[in-house]
Subunit: 488 residues, 2 copies
């Protein structure tokens, strides 16, 4: 037997989230940071299999809601990029530029897209003609690039290249565009909330924190194990801000030429993957929703000296064949590792179920099924195995969501003063508070709150909340409730 | 009724392939060349839906054969890029370079990957340790960038950014690596040959035409309507050429440290899409294999004055519901277009089946099913519709393949002299001929053949062929049969 590589995370998630995440990524072999260009990492197979599944989930949801895919070039001509003033100001400091082809310096510069509004809308200007072309709902799967020199990088959560989907939609009216924001919230709930089991709140962001060039920005925040929130998909009402400089117009039924109302939505799949694993994983290693797992069931035969090890393997193979019809299943019968090492290994790798088959199981017509969500082991009779696996498969993701949800709800504290906000944040919680305005007239009040180390994340979109009393920051009556949190 | 946009391709494929292809792309709205950066085009929805399906087919095939996905950065550090001498020489003239971030010039240059050997193998050097890690079979879905200043561009078939999959595999021995070449040929046959219905020949390329840095190159050529061949996926035996400079090693069972044998395979999905539509489409417009079609069945109600048009629509809706369980189906009941215009439109768009429902069909309990592969219309009784649609769906792709295959086989002419080769090529055919060698000692003979306007594409891999007589180019006895063709 070869010497077994030591595996396992050596710190606790609640004690040192940052180090725990770093070890999780390294030990479960999810990404490799040794690529040699700052902020650019390699996604390894165990992450990428899941990321592909997540892409399929999100693209299927967009298809169901009437979007179609497009594919734009990675490069954007500098002259397009510069057409919308706020947009160019917001993104230019972070743009990687291509200036050379072969040994020749180019006469023009091309941006590696940091986002694709300025690429899409020049074409929408050519494609959209009539009210009959609207609504026009399109998306692309793409990687985007942001140098973000002032921000630290972290695999999946923040990198200089990341992998997303961006939708770009055109509508006849503001009302239609706003309905799209609500649909984007619904898609987020279905895909992130249910399929990826990530509890989140969808906010309207304050005006001082909107996307460069947008009229308003809406975004989902997830509370991570560290007490910080992470912005997940955001969706933007662009109004006519881009359709004017890019001339995206349509002829209305009455013959009038009008500007389209544009929206965009940007679920960053690689970032959502980071959030998903940071949220669900534990001190033993990775945990992901059942349908997102690269391997769903591992079967570990437990050979013993003097036992009928061939029969044990044969039983494992029969199980594998039966379960393989519905699930991704593997037998690990390598003899260079002990069963105990394998248990740890597959827990680290986040395999939802492990089936142990030993000599006693052979005699008794049983197996042991161990589940990664609860850590429980269940002695199961052979004829019941498929039924039990089906049951666990059916409740596994919901169970992860429940565990994450408990952490979420009890971490929101309603606060009546800036001091109370500060206290809540120091306890790794989110604060809610009465506030005067998320328009630009509230910006001064937000600055006071920034001193707590948190940020005003905005007004929640999923329910109406009525404030009492005054703004937590000034003397004016509160007009809404905002949420304050530290963020990544 | 609005004025109907005139649609349709105005030249015949056999008369002017190049203009026909340009019109096909434009009229069926597959790509838009007006993006504003030379060689970079936008893939529109009708192409991209199919390209996504093609990606899934190819990735599923790779998964079945034991590969796993990875995801590498788009940028490659100049110092990696320069490690393998032939490789850097072959690709450097075509590389786009990132030299700037924000307003700052970078201290180092990053290549937009033209291919990813130099990215993958530095990491393989870190990841691969033992013979137990081998074979190691990985792939990524990615876009790649080649400036190729001397070559013209054409949507899908040749662009400065294209969308591919690249596999990078490591093996213990040359024999194992060579088996992978045969497996890659098998994957090509299954996916390109069967699912995309593209007849092709898999060749071992001559030594003077191999991938920069490879020991040998193998590639599939498809014969396009124009008489030219198009290189589709190629696979490369890299031997130890990259594992030495990148130090990709493993410890063998006997404890010896050895270099891995590497192979790579690069199905360029966007290019294969171009080949697929160029091959199957006709003077009426697009044709694609049934499972690759964005829309499989369109139902066109034919309203008439005085008829029960509501009942016609209701019948269409029932059909749509029944067929929608298995197929992608749409009803086009827009009243601004005539049924005749719609027939042309969906033929242009390559929808495999059209179902017409008119007043007479309502009376007789029938519909008309028109198929895009044969152009035939079939009067079908209501209870038989699903059965007939199933039948057409089942034979559609095979039928496209048969039509393309006939064109392929009769276009190969065995030639006994350089003059005969020249004649065959002038008739838009492929020539086969006895030849002395595809090693470097045959290069001089190949130069003589180049004067015909064709190129020696290599020795066919899918069957053994015994030559008779002498090399077509020199006096030495022929050792193999090669194929000569004009190429894109």
């Amino acid at each position: 037997m070869a010497e077994e590589k030591k595996i396992g995370i050596t710190v606790k998630k609640k004690d040192d989230f940052s180090e725990w995440y770093t070890q999780l990524i390294e030990q479960a072999e999810l990404a490799d940071v040794r690529y040699g260009i700052k902020g650019f990492v390699v996604y390894r197979e165990w992450a990428q299999v899941t990321i592909e599944k997540m892409y399929r989930s999100m693209m299927d949801a967009l298809d169901r809601k009437g979007h179609m895919p497009l594919c734009f070039p990675t490069l954007i001509h500098e002259k397009n990029f510069e057409l919308e003033a706020e947009h160019v100001e917001g993104f230019t400091p972070d743009v990687f530029w291509v200036t050379q082809a072969g040994s020749e310096k180019l006469n023009e510069k091309y941006a590696l897209r940091p986002t694709s509004e300025t690429a899409f809308y020049q074409m929408y200007s050519l494609w959209l003609r009539s009210h009959r072309d609207l609504p026009y709902k399109r998306y692309q799967r793409a990687s985007v690039f942001r140098a973000e020199k002032t921000k630290g990088t972290r695999p999946f959560l923040r990198g200089r290249e990341f992998h997303w989907i961006e939708t770009h939609n055109a509508f006849a009216t503001h009302e239609d565009a706003y309905k799209q924001v609500l649909e984007d919230m619904e898609i987020t709930r279905e895909v992130l909330g249910e399929e990826f089991a990530i509890p989140h709140i969808f906010f309207e962001r304050p005006q001082w924190d909107k996307f460069p060039g947008a009229v308003s920005t809406f975004a989902a925040d997830a509370l991570m194990g560290s007490g910080k929130v992470l912005q997940l998909p955001s969706t933007h009402l662009l109004g006519e801000n881009f359709s004017k400089p890019f001339n995206v117009t349509y002829v209305a039924e009455n013959g009038e030429q009008k500007y389209c109302h544009l929206t965009c939505y940007g679920p960053a799949i690689s970032r959502i993957y980071g959030a998903m694993i940071a949220l669900h994983s534990d001190d033993k290693g990775l945990r992901v929703p059942f349908n997102m797992a690269p391997l769903q069931v591992v079967i570990v035969p437990i050979p013993k000296e003097g036992a009928d090890n061939k029969a044990i393997l044969k039983k494992a193979e029969k199980l594998s064949k039966d379960l393989g019809k519905k699930y991704s299943v593997k037998i690990d019968d390598r003899d260079e590792y002990t069963p105990g090492w394998k248990y740890n290994y597959y827990e680290l790798k986040g395999v939802p179920m492990r089936i142990e088959v030993g000599p006693r199981d052979l005699e008794n017509g049983t197996v042991i099924i161990a589940r990664r969500d609860t850590g429980k082991k269940e002695l199961t009779k052979d004829p019941d195995v498929v039924k039990v696996v089906d049951k666990i498969a059916g409740e596994y993701t919901e169970n992860l969501l429940k565990q994450a949800d408990e952490g979420f709800e009890k971490n929101i504290v309603h606060s009546k003063s800036v001091e109370e906000i500060k206290k809540a944040l120091s306890e790794n919680k989110i604060a809610s508070a009465g506030f005067c305005s998320i328009g630009m007239d509230g910006a001064k009040c937000a600055e006071k709150i920034d001193l707590t180390g948190g940020e005003v994340r905005g007004k929640r979109m999923d329910k109406e909340e009525k404030p009492k009393g005054n703004c937590v920051s000034c003397d004016k009556p509160a007009k809404l409730i905002v949420y304050v949190a530290k963020s990544y």
